[in-house]
């Protein structure tokens, strides 16, 4: 079953490489392309992620096992009975990244749940894509997530659909937390006898109460924690124990527990096998000095090919990639208990111990964020990828010291998807032209965008992110913006980079030179190697 080239039982852990004379140029993602960069010798280090963990041999069996023997919860069959209202909610398009090869883990789990429901004679079943304020999924996207069989059985009857957080009759407030946070939920879910939530846990931010408290919520519920204050007190939002984002979601979860429907949480984890162990992009997840002649040749071929393609063709090529992830665990049952186990698995794949902070952190940004699957990675998403996600992939303390410099590489074109990101366009053209300060933006503009009728119309009937979504992107970066002394974008479109409030540089060495104005000469440099994803476990001490 397992391919020969695949590393087997003993994937190597992540580690920190000190750059010396022997270190080859390091791979940087650069949007829909790549750069190979030489880092300064003697003061640079590269954090390499662990190799992909070994996947489950029989995922379907593992799923069945989890459903029948859940953690801190009765077996699923005992919760199912005729005449009940069952709602299956599942993570939306934003997970995993990139989308996985068929069958999607959601499809496997949902089919297993539906089998049990059928056995128990449950006939009132709804399936909801828990997209909160994300864009609606298209038919092909839904088919990819749940599989054709499920799609065709439910969608034509209106039983499989996208969550609509702006449906005036479709949302309820379950209550308020002791901090006054509203807990909002889809009416169908709230009025169900059981909600089965099907999650994919790609990074440690995902899952837990965030699945239901955020995924099935609307603007009223989400704004309780999607704000500058919460994000600045989430250090980081990837580290549940130090994340205000999670504390808020858990408080909301407490309300759901007492006033909402019974939740049966199913979480799954994937390994980091994004580009495969062989195939055209396999070298991307290898360490550079281990590239074979074949790897070098295929990289050179790919670079040459990409150069000749139109931006549109390049985008289509990358966005059609489906990752061959393996499922590493499935656990079901009570939300918090399940999530503890999930987090353990995620950390096992992602955490890399790093000693001490650095003056300058560098990162190559890929073509994809959770918000531009099958879409365009606009400048705001470039910001959120660098300052939102990559910066926050730490535990303990940020990789870069306070007042340090973040250098990210991405072409940052002034391009937007007119269908998916209409409010982003206006946010970029109007709001950012005025100010880049998250607090000011939140105060002066959020309400106007959040309550805009046209955005609401597009969110509900077309495929647009909610009007308020670009604000959340900006808040996602607010912790980093506060922490950093400067942000430099290598190879980005100058006008767009400046609009973001960042500094453009044409090469990495220019960027490093510019950084010395902020952090002094000969700064220490740390590169977050990507792909695949990693999370830095940063201890005190000097780099």
């Amino acid at each position: 079953m397992r391919k020969k080239s695949e590393p087997t039982n003993n994937p190597r852990p992540g580690f920190v490489l000190e750059v010396d004379r022997q270190t080859p140029p390091i791979l940087f993602h650069h949007g829909e392309g790549f750069r190979l960069e030489k880092l300064p010798i003697g003061r640079s280090r590269v954090i390499y992620p662990a190799e992909p963990l070994r996947g489950l041999d029989d995922p379907d069996e593992a799923i069945r096992e989890a459903l029948l023997n859940p953690i801190d919860e009765d077996p699923l069959p005992s919760l199912l009975h005729p005449g009940m209202k069952l709602t299956i909610a599942f993570d939306d398009l934003s997970l995993p990244l990139p989308p996985m090869q068929r069958p999607d883990v959601r499809q496997r789990i949902i089919e297993a749940v539906l089998d049990l429901a059928a056995e128990a004679g449950v006939d009132d079943v709804h399936l909801i894509a828990a997209l909160a304020l994300h864009r609606r999924m298209t038919e092909p996207e839904l088919r990819h997530a749940v599989g054709d069989r499920v799609y065709e059985a439910f969608a034509p009857h209106g039983l499989l659909y996208n969550h609509d957080a702006e449906d005036p009759d479709g949302m309820v407030i379950l209550g308020h937390t002791d901090k006054g946070e509203a807990v909002q939920m889809s009416r169908r879910a709230a009025e169900s006898d059981l909600v089965v939530y099907v999650n994919i846990n790609l990074v440690s931010m995902d899952g837990g109460w965030k699945s239901t408290a955020t995924g099935l919520s609307g603007y009223q519920g989400v704004k309780a924690h999607h704000n500058v204050h919460t994000m600045r007190h989430s250090t980081s939002f990837m580290d549940q124990d130090n994340s205000e984002l999670h504390r808020s979601n858990w408080r909301q979860g407490d309300i759901i527990k007492h006033h909402g429907p019974r939740i049966f949480q199913i979480e799954s984890t994937l390994n980091t096998n994004t580009f495969g162990h062989d195939g055209p992009m396999a070298m991307l997840q290898k360490r550079e000095w281990e590239w074979s002649m074949v790897d070098r040749a295929s990289f050179a071929t790919m670079q040459a090919g990409l150069k000749r393609m139109s931006p549109r063709a390049r985008r289509m090529a990358f966005h059609s990639w489906r990752a061959p992830y393996d499922i590493t665990s499935v656990q079901a049952g009570e939300v918090e208990a399940v999530h503890r186990k999930t987090t353990e698995m995620v950390y096992k794949q992602h955490l890399v111990p790093v000693e001490g902070q650095t003056d300058v952190v560098t990162m190559g940004l890929p073509y994809l964020t959770p918000y531009n699957v099958n879409s365009i990675m606009n400048p705001i998403l470039v910001m959120v990828q660098g300052l939102g996600y990559f910066f926050n992939l730490y535990r303990g303390r940020p990789v870069v010291r306070e007042g340090g410099v973040l250098i990210m590489s991405h072409p940052t074109p002034w391009e937007f998807h007119p269908v998916h990101h209409p409010s982003y366009i206006d946010f970029f053209e109007q709001v950012l032209a005025d100010t880049t300060d998250p607090v000011e933006i939140e105060e002066r503009y959020e309400k106007q965008f959040a309550e805009d009728e046209w955005y609401r119309h597009l969110y509900r009937t077309s495929y647009a992110y909610h009007g308020v979504h670009p604000f959340y992107m900006w808040y996602w970066g607010s912790h980093a913006m506060q922490h950093l002394g400067q942000v430099i974008v290598v190879g980005g479109e100058e006008r767009a980079v400046r609009r973001l409030g960042f500094k453009p540089a044409s090469t990495l060495s220019d960027a490093l030179e510019m950084a010395t104005d902020v952090v002094g000469s000969k700064p220490s440099i740390t590169h977050l190697h990507n792909p695949p994803i990693l999370m830095a476990d940063v201890s005190a001490g000097s780099a």
Partner: protein, 778 residues
């Protein structure tokens, strides 16, 4: 003393809103404290004589000095006390006076007639009515009223005609070069010429040509606008023929232009008809800005020399004909005013003859053409104008060629520009590219204007007559010592170098509002200003066109998308290519008449299922409309809504296509098809809202909802939308096509160039998406 001589006198003035007339009123009010003024003013189209007097005379900066001396309240009190305004028109028999006016006019002691058609390119009959018949009408009216005040008639030195040598202060009939023509016959002939050309302009061929020209200029703007334009072109043509006829007639009798010719005959007619009215004639040469009074450099209106000077300083007029040793006879306006007042104070000749006073500089203090050109070119070299890029413009050196050479050069340039203009209008350009055409057109107009100057004024620059000023000098001598300075009229006082460099040119440049510094003006400042006006809270209605204004698409594209949505893959491409193949034919029909085009095209929907189209409409939004939309347009609609303006979409597109965009607007006015048993018939319920119907639809909408179109905004992209744009107070041209671009630039409309957010999210061909393939690995 003049002030004593004129004390208690009532002085009637015609032409007081003109350059000379205003200066005259100002000086009389300021320096002759006890006279009373009766201003004969023609009622304007929108204002009565009192309003005209206030706006065009007393609010002129000529009065700043008096206003400063008296203070605001006392100034207006003085005006009210000493000035009577009566309605009157020297172009009408009996001067068009009412009873009060006639009484006030009859009571006057002095009448100063300075009304004239001074534009050197006036149509023949207009010049005849005012210049030739004006003075005669005045004396006839006085006869009828039984009054005989002293009439001071302002004429021009150029009545002497195109000739070399001295031209003394005598009646034309006394001149040895006099050609005896019967002025009555000339009047008749001029009136007949008008009738002849008018008749010719109504011939079938001419009218056809005017229609074709109107269509070329406006495109498919709809019948009402095209008709209005056609009529405008016809009238313009008649007028042009009359200008040409005037020039030809004048030249045939030896005058430089129709102005001098009609003025000359006017003197003759006056001499014949004056009866017992004592008459003096004052003949100035070319009147230019003031030497000292009311302040150095004061000028009103953009006159003869100014456009030439500015065109030269802009580097536009590379040559101007003229004889370098010739004399340019220029006279500052204040000297003319002083002469007129002095003549009025002195009274007519005691022997009943007409006394003539020429106010000219040529013999007493000549300014040679070469000297003038030197002074001007040196001044502009030291104080250059700047082009749009902020670079100084260096002035060309004149070689004093003959008139023919200059005309030929300009004609060549104009021909090339004409060709460029034609070619550009044929190209389907939009937005910024279309603006090139606006520039070409601008340039073409400048050249055509330059050519006009050469044609009209060239004759003056070549004129070598020397005007005698003996009477003028005698007049200056006869003044009391106290009057000699305030009413100085001896041209010798003018220091030409000082006058040109320190007085006239600075004033001309200031008036012309040209760029005199290298500061780069903010090119967006104007756009921002216009945009702020469009988005001002006082606006209350904003109308939007759809195609190429909100989305870069059209009815053909949306039809192709809808039609291919359910076709099998092989037929889809064939279908779309076929539809697009018909595009040129459709486009031609569209250009001729949009309504016909839409009716013809919408037949294709015959038999389409209403329910199916409804469903597809929603998909169309995401897959087609939004990918083709201009985000800035969508934003603008919502900005208007936020300002509290009512927004309305007015389009010839079908309701099924427009429906998903509905929530963007407060109201939608669009085409609707009739239905039969759940299927569309392909026939429209009403005339589609395009062209003039669209303007009418907006008017109806505004009336029904109590909106004022003058406070409304309209956005559209093509000349077929002109009726809509014309209907509102604040039109905005969005990505305008060539014709609209030049029109918008000319009329100072806001022009927005909006683009798609796209980056390749929209499809090259308008194909509906394929039905989702069903594939499963399990």
């Amino acid at each position: 003393m003049i002030s004593e001589q004129l004390a208690g006198k009532r002085i009637a003035i015609t032409g007081s809103t003109g350059f000379l007339g205003t200066a005259l009123v100002e000086r009389l009010l300021r320096q002759v404290p006890d006279c009373h003024l009766v201003l004969l003013i023609r009622p304007g189209r929108r204002s009565n004589p009192d309003q005209r007097a206030r706006r065009e005379i007393f609010r002129n900066d000529a009065f700043s000095r008096l206003l400063g001396e008296l203070g605001k309240d006392q100034f207006w009190e003085e005006v009210d006390r000493r000035v009577t305004v009566i309605a009157g028109d020297v172009g009408t028999d009996g001067l068009g006076l009412d009873a009060d006016g006639a009484r006030a006019f009859a009571d006057c002691d002095v009448v100063i007639h300075s009304a004239a058609t001074v534009s050197f390119d006036a149509p023949l009959d207009g010049a005849v009515e005012v210049n030739l018949l004006g003075p005669t009408r005045i004396v006839q009216t006085l006869h009828e009223l039984g009054a005989a005040p002293h009439l001071v008639a302002v004429s021009t030195c150029y009545v002497a005609g195109n000739r070399r040598g001295s031209a003394p202060e005598q009646l034309l009939s006394d001149s040895p070069f006099h050609i005896d023509v019967d002025w009555r016959a000339e009047v008749k002939a001029a009136r007949r010429t008008r009738a002849d050309f008018d008749a010719e302009s109504r011939s079938a061929e001419r009218l056809e040509q005017f229609r074709a020209d109107a269509r070329h200029e406006l495109g498919a703007a709809g019948t009402p606008l095209l008709s209005a334009k056609t009529e405008q072109l016809r009238q313009r043509w008649v007028s042009e023929q009359l200008v040409e006829a005037g020039r030809a007639r004048a030249a045939s009798l030896g005058w430089p232009d129709a102005y001098a010719y009609t003025k000359a005959l006017g003197e003759r007619a006056l001499d014949e008809s004056r009866g017992d009215v004592p008459v003096s004639i004052v003949r100035p040469s070319i009147i230019e800005s003031a030497w000292a009074e009311p302040r150095p450099g004061w000028i009103k209106g953009f006159r003869m020399a100014e456009p030439i000077i500015i065109s030269y300083a802009r580097g536009l007029l590379k040559e101007f004909p003229g004889v370098p040793e010739g004399v340019i006879d220029v006279i500052p306006v204040d000297l003319v005013v002083a002469s007129i007042i002095a003549v009025a104070a002195k009274g007519a000749a005691s022997d009943g003859s007409i006394e003539i006073t020429q106010v000219a500089s040529g013999t007493r203090n000549p300014l040679h053409y070469r000297r003038l050109v030197d002074l001007v070119s040196t001044w502009f070299t030291e104080n250059p104008l700047y082009d749009r890029k902020g670079q100084p413009i260096s002035v060309p050196e004149w070689s004093f060629p003959g008139r023919g050479a200059v005309e030929r050069q300009l004609e060549r340039v104009q021909k090339n520009l004409d060709r460029a203009d034609k070619a550009l209008k044929l190209l389907p350009l939009r937005g910024r590219q279309a603006m090139i055409n606006a520039e070409v057109e601008d340039r073409r107009e400048q050249v055509s204007r330059a050519m006009g100057y050469v044609k009209i004024y060239g004759a003056y620059a070549e004129c070598e007559a020397l005007y005698g000023v003996d009477n003028l000098l005698a007049l200056q001598d006869s003044l009391d010592d106290g009057d000699k300075e305030p009413f100085a009229c001896d041209p010798a006082i003018v220091d030409w170098s000082h006058y040109v460099r320190e007085v006239h040119l600075p004033s001309v440049v200031e008036h012309a509002r040209v760029k005199t510094t290298g500061e780069r003006s903010d090119p967006d400042a104007r756009t921002r200003r216009l945009r702020a006006r469009v988005l001002a809270p006082e606006r209350h209605l904003a109308a939007f066109d759809l195609e190429n204004t909100i989305i870069a698409s059209n009815v053909v594209f949306s039809y192709a998308w809808l039609a291919t949505r359910n076709l099998p893959p092989r037929d889809r491409m064939r279908f779309t290519i076929k539809t697009l193949g018909e595009a040129p034919g459709l486009l031609a029909l569209d250009q001729r008449d949009r309504t016909d085009f839409l009716r013809h095209f919408y037949r294709r929907y015959d038999g389409a299922s209403v329910a199916e189209m409804d469903r597809l409409g929603q998909e169309l939004l995401a897959d087609h409309i939004l990918t083709k939309a201009f985000p800035a347009a969508l934003r603008r609609v919502r900005e208007h809504r936020r300002m509290g303006h009512r927004t309305v979409l007015i389009t010839g597109a079908l309701d099924i296509v427009v429906k998903p965009l509905g929530p963007l607007f407060d109201d939608v006015i669009c085409s609707e098809m009739s239905q039969l048993e759940g299927r569309y018939t392909g026939e429209l319920l009403a005339v589609p809202p395009t062209g003039e119907v669209r303007a009418q639809a907006l008017r109806d909408f505004a009336d029904a909802n109590g909106f004022d179109l003058a406070e409304s905004v309209a956005y559209a992209d093509s000349s077929s939308d002109l009726p809509l744009l014309d209907a509102v107070g604040f039109p905005v041209a969005v990505n305008p096509e060539t014709r609209l671009a030049s029109m918008a630039a000319k009329r100072g409309w806001l022009i927005e160039n909006w683009s798609k957010a796209g980056a390749g999210t929209d499809k090259w061909l308008p194909l509906g998406p394929l039905p989702t393939p069903r594939k499963s690995r399990r």
